[in-house]
Each structure stands twice: as C-alpha cells, then as structure tokens.
C-alpha cells in the first residue's frame, strides 16, 4: 500500500454491521459512539428519529441558506420592479410609478423561488450529491436493513481511536449487530 504525495489512491476500508430494526440500531449506535472512532455513520432505509442525537450529529445548516436567499429574493424583486417601473414610466390606473402594493405578489413569489432553489442546491452540497465515489455498502440498506459502518478516515486525526479492522469488528459485535462484514469502499462506476 503506497501513497504518492499526500493523495491516497488505495481504496478505503470499512466495517459494516447490520441490524434488523430501528430500535436495535439506536442501542447499537450508543456503543459505537462510545468507542470513539473518528468516522462512523448509520445507513438506513428511512430516517430513524432520535438517531441523530445518539450519533452526536449537529443540526443542519441548510435553513440559514434558505433564509438568506429567501430574503435576497424579496429584495431583488422589489428593486427590480421599482427600477423597471421608473425606467419605462407609464401611468397605469393613475397610480404612482412606485406603487409598491402592486409589487407584493412578485416579491413573494421570488422569495419562495430563490429560497426553494437555494435549499435544493444546499442539499446537494451538504450531502455531496451527485455522489459517484461512494457506493452503497449493501443493497438491503434501501430495503429492510439498518447498518452502522465504521470507516477508515482519509487522514487520521488525533484525539480519536485509530482505525483497526479487528477492533471495529469487535465493537460492532458488542453493539449487537447481527452480521458484521469488512468491506472496501468502492465507487458507483468503478
């Protein structure tokens, strides 16, 4: 296993443990988290409520993007309508050029449009989509199995337990996983 410069080319290792139901993965996750590995995550067919806290995940930052871009949409819509109404001044219904109440519907629509599109883009970025490099560990994860994977980090950080296959297998077995496998992280099209 050689590495040129700092880039790693050898495939990363991971150990995956499978559970049958949401309750077992919750209790299992407590054990895995206590083992203090650097990189571990749950893989589930649907979001298991409460697992985020057990796993120690922070809240998503997406709402801040939605708020910022939503507010930009409101302002852009107002400035656009105000400026264009002055740029080509027409008296319509005897109203002043800056008849702002008439601008409200489009201000609202652009708020939603920009907030929605930016939320989608933020979702793609936060999840690393489209994801080509990391293939799903097992097809049953999108069906009926709940998995916890302890993964080998690209570059080990201090303060965490160093990744070792045998230790990870041991931790997952203690956590109550029914089936534990050592795997290699593949890409979707490789």
């Amino acid at each position: 296993m050689t590495s040129h410069s700092s880039e790693r080319t050898a495939p990363l290792k991971a150990v995956v443990g499978f559970f049958d139901n949401p309750e077992d993965i919750m209790t299992g996750m407590k054990t895995v988290r206590a083992a203090n590995f650097e990189q571990f995550d749950a893989y589930t067919p649907f979001p298991v409520h409460g697992l985020d806290e057990v796993q120690g995940l922070k809240k998503s930052w997406i709402p801040w993007v939605t708020l910022a871009l939503g507010m930009s949409g409101t302002s852009i819509a107002f400035v656009m309508q105000y400026w264009m109404s002055h740029e080509w001044p027409h008296i319509i219904g005897g109203k002043p050029f800056n008849s702002w109440p008439a601008f409200v519907p489009i201000m609202f629509e652009l708020t939603i449009l920009l907030a929605g599109i930016s939320t989608f883009v933020a979702l793609l970025i936060s999840c690393g989509f489209p994801n080509i490099k990391k293939k799903i560990f097992d097809p049953s994860i999108t069906n009926n199995k709940f998995a916890i994977a302890i993964e080998e980090p690209v570059k080990a950080k201090s303060g965490f337990k160093l990744f070792s296959e045998s230790e990870a297998i041991q931790v997952l077995k203690t956590a109550g996983a029914k089936d534990v496998r050592a795997v290699i992280q593949e890409g979707w099209f490789s």
Binding site: D20, V48, I62, P105, L110, I112, F129, I136
Partner: protein, 452 residues
C-alpha cells in the same frame, strides 16, 4: 410510533414486501389494462396536437372568441388545471406540516399529479397567446434594446411569476422526495442499463444518516415554502378576475373561494386517479379505504366552502344595490348559460352531500362517480365565472354570445391526453408510493411482530 392505534398499511406487510409491491409495476411488462389506458390517452393527445396545429397555422380565429368574450375555454382550461394541481401540494406539504401520517400512502402520486396538471396549465396558457414562441418576450422582463419592460401592476404578470414558481418548486419537492426511493429501485435492478439510469437519477444516494439529517431538514423547508406558495398561486389566479371592474369578477371573496375550489377539484382528481391506480397495480394495502374516506371528507368539507362562496356572492350582489352586479348574477342563474350554472351547482354542492354517510364515503363506485361529477362541476364553475360575466357587461349594445368551437374542445381533450399520458408513464417508470415514508409510519418489526 408503533403504539398508535391507526393502521396505515394493512395486510401485515414487512419492509421488504413494500419494496416488492411498489417495484412490481416497474419491473414487469405493462399489463393489458395499462396498454388500454395508455392507448386512449395517446388518442386524446393526438386530438390535442391536431387542434394546436390548426391554431398555430391558422391563428386563434379558429376559436369562438370575439368581442366581448375575449376569454373562453382557454382560460377555463388554465384555471381548471392549476386548481387540480393544488391538491397534490396540500397533501405533500400542508398535511406534512400537520403531521398527518396517512399522507405517506398517497403523497407521491398526488405530487406527480400536481406536476402534470401544472404542465397542462402552462401548455394551455402559453398556446392561448396564439404565437407561443414569442410568449417569452411578452411575459418575462428581459433587457432589450428598446428598454421596454413588462407591466408589474398587472395581475396577469403576477400569474407568470406565480405559476412558474409553483411549477419549479413542486418539481424540486417531488424529485427530492423520490431520491431515496429511486435508490431502492436501483438496488433491486439486475439489468445494467436500468441500474445505471436509476443510479444517476438517485444521485448516488446510500441512506447515510448524515445525509438523512440534511435531507429531512430540506424536506421540511420545502413543505414550509410550498404551503404559502400554494395558497398564493390560486389567489393570484383569482386576481386576474377580481382586480378588474367587471360585474361578477369584481369581488373580494375570490382568493379564498378559488383556493377552496382548487383543493376541492384537486382532491376529486386524486380520488379518480387513486381508485384506478390501486385497482390496476394492487396497491389496496397501501391506499386503503381509510385513506379514501379521509379524502372524501375533505371533498365534502371543501365542497361546502365552495357552496357557501356561491351563496355569499349572490348575497353581496343583491346587498350591493348595484343593478349591474344583480344583473350579472341573475344572468348566471337564468340567462342563456343557465345550464352551465346548474351543472355547477348540482355537481359541486349537491353531489358531495352523499358523503355525509359513512357507507357512501367507503364505497368505491360511489366515490368514483362523485369524483367525476366534481371534476365536471369545477370545470363548469370556471366556465360560468369567465363566460357569463364577459358576455353581458354594462351596455346591452355590446352583449353577445360565446360558443366554443371544435378546436377549443380539441385542445381541452388534448390536455387530458397530456395529463393521462404523463401519469401512466409515471406509474410505469417511477415508484408510485413513497416507500421510505410508508416504512417510517409502520410498526417496527421488533414491536409489530412481523419479522422481515
């Protein structure tokens, strides 16, 4: 959690059964029933293509529009289709915010219906300009050499922004909801080409909890954004009428009245489609009689809001003391278009009253017929509002009749073709039930006892 008494999925299904059942129509050759429906839809589509070709090559003179009836079935079609779309957003967004778990069985197909209905609305409204290839220049503010801008004080322009935003956001919301289910279909695929296509569509989703965290946050934000959006869209559509001075259009009740009517008509269309879909694909354990009964209750409730709005409009017309307002409303009831008014009242106000009886709410045949009545009634509601108000306004010298021509009805048939063709392709290629969401409201195999 599993302690709730409500049973949302019947038949003792396991997680794996859901994948099997939902993926079956995607993985097998379409049934004879599907081909029959698809052929009929394609015939309708061809009628529409012929009518649109006639319109583009000859001009909108092939329609019955003239002074004073400048709007006819074109705008009726538009309002009809936008309205139908609203039920999908209500089910996917508003019921999500209210934590209505029963939405999970029906939200995917209802959202698909929204997208296809809005496509029909956009098609109708773009082609009614006569030369739709110029429409982008007329409708959108874009920098141009003559420094001309669109009129932001016009409700018609608000409509451009409202409907295009609605389409974009609904499409994103629907696609985001589909991603985990597309991954399920991908992971079942055995054919290489099929696997590649679904891998790309699923964006490489792998069920990571770190992804679910962001996903769920974004999903809730989409629901939060769609809720005021859907209320705004039909309000803005109603402004097209309410902001004018015409008796019969110039009423402040229009925005809530239009929104209630939109939900009413949309739920009827959802019932029509689901009754066929659950029969055709064997989804009876996921779209249960309880689901349909709840929708019928919504139809009954919104139908009475619509009925109240009709009564209120009449009262205000009388109470206003304006002879033009009174004349417009009497003309609706007893004028030359009396039949369209009474079709509207009998279909929208009278027919849903049968849903007061529990046995009727749970009867497939009855609800299918009533849902068709409501669709017809809501089409005529828009026809009544548009045509009867326009054909007789203030001066009797400018009164005239509007009679739709063959080509106008052809376009309406064409939009039905577009709608059903897209819906049938949807049930053939995409998971029609939100598998991940249904699993999340089922009892866990640990507590429920059904080991997978």
């Amino acid at each position: 959690m599993a302690t709730t008494a409500e049973v949302l999925v019947t038949g003792g299904k396991t997680y794996n059964d859901i994948n099997e059942d939902v993926a079956r129509p995607l993985e097998s050759f379409p049934t004879k029933k599907w081909w029959i429906c698809f052929s009929v839809a394609l015939v309708f589509l061809c009628v529409g293509l012929a009518s649109w070709t006639k319109e583009f090559t000859t001009g909108i003179g092939v329609w019955g529009l003239n002074h004073p009836g400048g709007w006819g079935t074109d705008i009726t079609n538009f309002v009809f289709w936008v309205g139908i779309g609203h039920a999908g957003t209500l089910i996917s967004a508003i019921l999500f915010l209210f934590r209505q778990k029963w939405r999970t069985g029906i939200n995917r197909s209802a959202e698909a219906m929204t997208i296809f209905a809005v496509i029909c609305a956009l098609l109708v409204v773009l082609t009614h300009t006569g030369r739709p290839w110029y429409a982008a220049f007329w409708l959108l503010p874009y920098p141009n050499q003559r420094q001309l801008w669109v009129n932001f004080r016009s409700p018609l322009l608000w409509d451009v922004f409202a409907v295009s935003t609605y389409f974009t956001i609904s499409l994103i919301f629907w696609f985001v909801g589909l991603v985990p289910d597309l991954a399920s279909i991908r992971d079942r695929a055995t054919n290489k080409i099929r696997k590649t296509i679904y891998t790309i569509l699923s964006l490489g989703w792998r069920g990571s909890n770190k992804n679910w965290l962001h996903y769920e946050t974004a999903y809730m934000l989409f629901a939060g954004l769609s809720t005021p959006l859907v209320l705004s869209v039909h309000s803005v559509v109603s402004f097209d009428f309410a902001v004018s001075q015409l008796p019969g259009w110039h009423t402040t009740i229009f925005p809530p009245y239009f929104v209630a009517g939109a939900i009413f008509s949309g739920f009827a269309m959802v019932v029509t489609l689901l009754v066929i879909m659950r029969e055709m694909f064997g989804f009876k354990n996921y779209i249960t009689l309880d689901h349909l009964e709840k929708m019928n209750k919504v139809i009954l409730g919104t139908g009475m809001i619509v009925g109240y709005a009709y009564a209120c409009e009449f009262f205000i017309a009388w109470y206003s003391g304006s002879p033009f307002e009174r004349g417009a409303f009497l003309n609706r009831m007893f004028g030359p278009y009396w039949w369209s008014y009474w079709i509207m009242v009998s279909c929208n106000v009278l027919s849903p009253q049968i849903f007061w009886f529990r046995s009727m709410r749970r009867n497939i045949g009855v609800m299918f017929v009533i849902s068709l009545y409501v669709n017809i009634g809501m089409y005529f509601e828009r026809f009544v509002i548009i045509v009867t108000s326009l054909h007789r306004d203030f001066l009797p010298s400018s009164w005239d009749m509007y009679v739709p021509t063959f080509w106008e009805w052809g376009i309406f048939v064409g939009t039905l073709g577009v709608f059903f063709t897209l819906f049938l392709l949807f049930v053939r290629f995409l998971p029609a039930i939100a598998m991940g969401e249904v699993k999340s409201v089922m009892p866990s195999p640990k507590e429920g006892g059904h080991h997978s």
